[in-house]
Amino acid sequence: MIGFKELKNNLKKDRSALPVKKVALIGDVATQFLSVAIKGFGVEKGYNIDLFEADFNQVEQQVMDPTSELHHFSADYTIVFQSTHKLLEKYSNTSPSGQINVADNRLDFIRTICNSVKGRIIYYNYPEIEDTVFGSYANKVPSSFTYQLRKLNFELMNIAQQNPNFFICDIAGLQNKFGRDMMFSSTVYVSTEMVLSIDSLPYVAARTMDIICAAEGKFKKCLILDLDNTTWGGIVGDDGWENIQVGHGLGIGKAFTEFQEWVKKLKNRGIIIAVCSKNDEDKAKAPFEKNPEMVLKLEDIAVFVANWNNKADNIRHIQSVLNIGFDSMVFLDDNPFERNMVRENVPDITVPELPEDPGEYLEYLYSLNLFETVSYSNADADRTLQYQVESQRASLQQSFTNEADFLKSLDMVSEVKGFDSFNTSRVAQLSQRSNQFNLRTVRYTEAEIEALGKDNQYADFSFTLVDKFGDNGLICVIILKKQDAETLFVDTWYMSCRVLKRGMENFTLNTIVSYAKKNGFKRIIGEYLPTSKNQMVEEHYPKLGFGKLEGTETLRFELNADTYEDRECYITTK
């Protein structure tokens, strides 16, 4: 982990070219070092953090007073750090009969924060301080500090589930990993009123930035695995599929079993798993097919590449099949040479420096928190299947000479719906994830999507796509703003790259224009806001027959609804 000193030095760098995020930090302990660490980590992650730091111990005042500096600042993210230390002090100064309410009182205040702070809230949960007043017996005593603290951390998770804009930064988890003696330093506390040690600051800042990055659409989507000595022990080409080290019992095999169990959980959560191995393909696949101790099976792997080409080329191939950015990929390999080769040749990919001892892989990987997210829906779990189906489609396409015949053969059906309680979470999630096919890259949270669905000034559409190979789920979202009685502005158009080249754009535009005609709108205005990732859709509107508007500050395009004729497509409406 980068040190606090380096984070501090980052602030001397020129940050003016980086995108700015407004972050407020309010705490009941001194936060100067924390704010330095967060700004410094922002630079590491490519953000210029414009940080408002409230004066020490003003949490309540800043939150409750609608005219406070906090509300004035209108942050994208508000970090709230109410420390266990101060809570313990409060608890100790509460009459014994009142101590049983300490957690509930704090929870009430946190609900107030949820209701009065705009933007996203990042709330630090409570690393435990065991005061040993009752010893372990505290677990039997609801008014004990231990009981109140654990109740508070538990109920915080419920608040987070009820408030889509409220995110817990799990610094209690950090303390579980590193220990209280690492997290807290009495000399630092006594001389500065700061409860985080200097060594812990980079980790706390990293966890905080992980949430901000995920909310900004920067997160990992794919894990690429080497096989020999990474996924199992030994070399399958030499040892044979029956003799590789994997499986419970004594010895190093269980380290690989547990590693595979971790990978399987990631896969079930929606992370795409790929394999990149220097091996003969049949030898590399044999353990997956035949070794009963293997936790991972071939159906868990979305893209399987085993050959003798160099790994950088193979990873580029995996990238082209999955159509996601290199910065959303993690590559795990036990071999330092391969790691460096990939790092040097594949920019932006994350390549952790795995420890030499496979027994340490997991604890090391836990410490990196590689897969932070700000959303989760059941559709995530099916993603591997969808990518596997995509490679089947690719092979079918090769058998057709004419694209239209191919598209017809897919029997595509789309369901078009507004936003409702069933699809808001997926709509919001796709809003966070879509980088390439995204015309304006406006990110919406679940709460915002829900509000848009009820707002008469907007018309919104979600699209699913099913074909004969499978269900792609919800893959496209349109939000139209009724600019005036005759004009619709395309506020949002994003689509999953999984369904490129299927005529979905035509189907979507046909749907938009038919809505416009039915409701008396004459013109549709589209806008393209370039980002580092959405070059793919630079020509999107011209290709669909929109004319470029002159004299506008941004790239805007116009379509006349009356003269529009439906564009050719082979998708039917469900």
Binding site: F4, K5, K8, N9, K12, Q32, F33, S185, S186, T187, V188, V190, S191, T192, M194, S197, I198, D199
Partner: protein, 78 residues
């Protein structure tokens, strides 16, 4: 380790933490003489010195030093 060696090592820590290779410490140097040595960076320096010498200061010691000499004496006595 004699006092001069300690001073040299402490100076190295100061240069590293404050990111300034021009820092020269003498026994008489105080916080006012070094740019960037304020109450906040003081604790950063303390933690770095503790690591460099593999020692621990008490909270009382940290708050008692008036100049570099007193700090060095304290290190020498550990």
């Amino acid at each position: 380790m004699d006092q001069n060696e300690i001073l040299a090592k402490v100076q190295e820590v100061f240069r590293d933490v404050l990111d300034d290779d021009a820092i020269m410490l003498t026994p008489q140097t105080t916080a006012d003489d070094v740019e960037g040595w304020d109450s906040l960076s003081h604790i950063q320096l303390i933690v770095a010195i503790e690591k460099a010498f593999k020692i621990k200061f008490t909270s009382k010691e940290i708050l008692s030093w008036k100049n570099v000499e007193e700090m060095i004496e304290c290190i020498a006595n550990k």
